[in-house]
């Protein structure tokens, strides 16, 4: 019984299988397509793609909590909105240059996320959801009421786009490429986070928090760090958001904004890296197309969401994989 297996059987197989040639080719093709997109698309589609990238960073960051941590938040727009307000206020009124305003926005928002985490993580499950919602409602209320600073319902305008390395980002294509670079960095860093030892521990706290504590993991601290990290990436999305629109309004802090992110995560597939991206494509496209024809585009979004939840409760990305496997696996 104490006889140990020989070392040859010990190499971990799943990692190798993931990097099959076909996959790499697919990803390369997708990458080229993404980079080349402005060369064959009109401005409308380029701008749409930029909005999708921003929404995708936001959804990916929320997914760290929802999908990997099992902590459903209805207040994640706090961090997008706060960061956007910070950047806009410090740039247009606070007299800071773009770099300093961006740093203040990222740092300030991350610190606020630290405080919000302290409050929200007193609970998990529904309690956590309600506290995140309440906290974001407070921010939303402040943005509306504290008009001397936030300009209230008129929003803060006058924001401009930065010129990194002297590159003018005012054209749709230039801004798209800028967003694509930021998206790429965000995606890779969040992917590394989820795959890491810490990420494995995080998923453990989602599935069996009590067992994880008994095994020696500080469940609370793991969740708090994740909350802060998710807040930081929410702030990155907020920065791009305010650069794109050159304007920020309290609705960006609203429950609707948070819910859209949550819908993207769940519709695309929570706890996967592709899911939130696919979900964001769906939500942003629906928003842009449907709002032109249907007045209550939210209703349409609701219906689409219901259909997905009924037929693919695990979300579009895992659901499609499951169907694909059934078709290809059933054939042999």
């Amino acid at each position: 019984m104490t006889d140990v297996t020989d070392n040859t059987t010990i190499a971990a197989p799943p990692v190798e299988r993931r990097n099959s040639g076909l996959r790499i080719a697919l990803y390369a093709a997708l990458g080229i397509l993404l980079v080349a997109l402005p060369l064959f698309s009109g401005d409308f589609y380029i701008n749409l793609a930029s909005q999708i990238l921003i929404a995708a960073i936001f959804a990916l960051s929320l997914n760290l909590l929802v999908g990997y941590g099992g902590l459903s938040s209805l207040g994640h727009a706090s961090f997008l909105g706060l960061s956007a307000y910070f950047a806009a206020w410090f740039f247009t009124r606070g007299g800071l240059d773009h770099t300093s305003a961006a740093l203040v926005a990222l740092l300030g928002t991350t610190i606020v996320a630290g405080f919000f985490g302290l409050i929200a993580l007193r609970a998990s499950g529904l309690g956590f959801l309600m506290i995140t919602l309440a906290l974001s409602q407070v921010l939303w209320g402040v943005a509306f009421r504290w008009a001397s600073v936030t300009n209230g319902d008129n929003g803060l305008s006058g924001m401009t786009r930065p010129m990194p390395f002297g590159i003018d980002l005012n054209g749709p294509a230039a801004f798209y490429w800028f967003s694509l670079v930021i998206f790429g960095i965000s995606f890779v860093l969040m992917a590394i986070f989820t795959e890491s030892a810490f990420g494995s521990a995080l998923r453990g706290t989602r599935d069996q928090p009590r067992r994880m504590a008994a095994l020696g993991f500080d469940v609370w601290l793991i969740r708090w760090i994740t909350f802060v990290y998710a807040g930081f990436w929410g702030a990155v999305a907020g920065l791009l958001y305010v650069y794109y629109h050159k304007y920020i309004h309290p609705t960006s802090l609203s429950i609707t904004a948070s819910a859209e992110g949550l819908l993207s995560v769940i519709a695309g597939g929570s706890g996967t890296l592709g899911g939130p991206v696919v979900g964001s494509i769906l939500v942003v496209m629906l928003k842009n197309y449907a709002s032109a024809y249907v007045e209550r585009w939210n209703m349409l979004l609701g219906i689409v969401f219901l259909v997905i939840v009924i037929f693919m409760p695990e979300g579009l990305v895992p659901g499609t994989k499951r169907l694909w496997k059934r078709f290809t696996g059933g054939a042999k």
Partner: protein, 250 residues
Amino acid sequence: MTTSATPALEIINLHKNFGGLPATQNVSIKVQPGERRLIIGPNGAGKTTLFNQITGDFLPTSGTIKLFGQDVTKLKPHKRAHLGLSRTYQIITLFNRDTLAHNITLGLLGLQKARWNMLRPLATYGDMRTEAIRVLGLVNLEHLADRPVTDISYGEKRRVEIAMAMAQRPKVLLLDEPLAGLSAGERANIKELVASIPRETTVVMIEHDMDTALDLAETVTLLHYGKVIVDGERDAVIADEKTREVYLGH
């Protein structure tokens, strides 16, 4: 059993009420390093509740819990794990979506600094995987290392429960009904496994199956309605009048 050494586990005047209902009443127990202690008692006697207080899942209403002389009564569960405390659950509590190797690896990771590493993928810690496979070998499950928990039988899950705790090389191991729901063959298997646990590990085991468990025990504590009824050397507890009363009266 040496009484001079610091006990591995010492419980002093422990009380626990669930909204007025006492689940632990004035419990005092000393377990010496290396001892094999069996905790018996009818359903609802408060055995699991006692474990939950030792691990810190529940805070006692009053009383003291010491691990190797250190007062841990108010310590968080994860800190107690780092003092060498491990447990298994009466109701199987595994990471169902993950492979057996991943389950055991989490047990290893919990006590290592690497658990805070946010860059390196868990899959690349070859030494942890090697150790996880070795531990799965102890419970004869290495051939299922890369299968998800959902694929294996109930008896195999019971073995993973124990393996995950043993992977931590605990100083004090709490086993909550490790034989529950197992076939005779599987029981013999687990019995052999528990018997093979090294003496550096103090074992406290809750078990209903006396035929199997008594062979493993040196000392026995009988709980009834949250109270210690009899406590001492195995044979003395079995022979005790009060033990018969509890079990015949049930």
